[in-house]
Symmetry: C2
Subunit: 199 residues, 2 copies
């Protein structure tokens, strides 16, 4: 089978391939130059497509980078369903640690952060991402409650699992190995089992 | 006394005033437009100084924004010395919560994050900031150890005090009131007093 025919059989075909190439080009350019330091022309050249294809599909660079950030963050670290709260949290924390410390992790996270200072549209895209991720986490925590477990709330997962990993990546501080992800889950479970007394 | 003479007596004089005006202009522009969406000319117009003054002093926009990010983050949230570890942590957490949730907080944090994808110079500036802040925190934790207390390490302060607040601001998630800052300190002290058992 020729490479051309193999490509043609992939789900989504040419349109999906263009989208994937453009998304990867944006991620690479953010990693190499930082958000704000490249143009639609740079993305097109890197992805091997015409500028007009990008303008027709996304309208402008801001809309394109928002699409990349939301898509990458939503597709990565899918929510697990292992049958127990502890199993779900350990599986999820390990996935997040692997994704955010991978080659594209810092660039994707930085994109989301850049959105938050990129005006109302950027803030809306960031809020949409957070709402979607919160909804996914809530499904996992609701399952635990239905089994009779006592889950933490989604903000506690953000504060004690996601935030430490995000900040370690963004600030280049400390390792993000599987043991570290497990320790964060230990801490969340310990805090939730025995909350500190009110002051 | 004329306003002119009063100004002249301020520490640093005209040079310090120009620096403060330029720093505030950068912070405002990051908040309004996002990092990467303004020029040296925009900063000069906003600060009421000549473009050449900025080029002479800082060289280029990247060096200027690095100076702003490091200065703002280093000057805000000074390390307290209250006589006890708990007092120091509560005071410090309250200051950080106030600073990062203040009008310039998100812009300054976003600047630091933008640095981390702005090439080797940006990463170096970010690492310098983290090293300086870690050194300051270590002084506070060493004082606790000298008093016979059992302090956490600086990474635990980053993970459980600073990270949750930074991420809530950056992602626009949840409130950052004084009670929340106190709860984070409660959690850190509880974790450190009774670490979870090894798996």
């Amino acid at each position: 089978m020729t490479e051309e025919r193999e490509r043609a059989r992939r789900p989504g075909g040419r349109s999906a391939r263009v989208r994937a190439a453009v998304h990867q080009a944006v991620t690479d350019l953010v990693a190499e130059r930082g958000y704000g330091n490249f143009t639609v022309g740079d993305v097109a050249a890197r992805a091997g497509v015409a500028d007009t294809s990008i303008y027709r599909r996304w309208g402008n660079l801001e809309a394109l980078t928002q699409d990349v950030a939301i898509t990458r963050l939503t597709e990565q670290s899918p929510i697990p369903d292992t049958g127990s709260l502890e199993g779900d949290l350990r599986d999820y924390a390990a996935k997040v640690a692997r994704d955010v410390s991978g080659p594209d992790g810092p660039a994707v996270l930085s994109l989301v952060v850049a959105l938050s200072t990129a005006g109302p549209d950027g803030a809306r895209a960031r809020d949409d991402f957070l709402a979607e991720r919160t909804r996914q986490l809530q499904v996992m925590l609701d399952r635990a409650r239905d089994r009779g477990e006592q889950p933490p709330d989604t903000l506690a997962v953000l504060d004690h699992i996601l935030a430490p990993m995000y900040v370690r990546v963004l600030f280049g501080a400390g390792p993000l190995d599987p043991d570290y992800a497990d320790t964060l889950v230990d801490h969340l479970l310990a805090l939730h089992a025995a909350p500190p007394p009110a002051p």
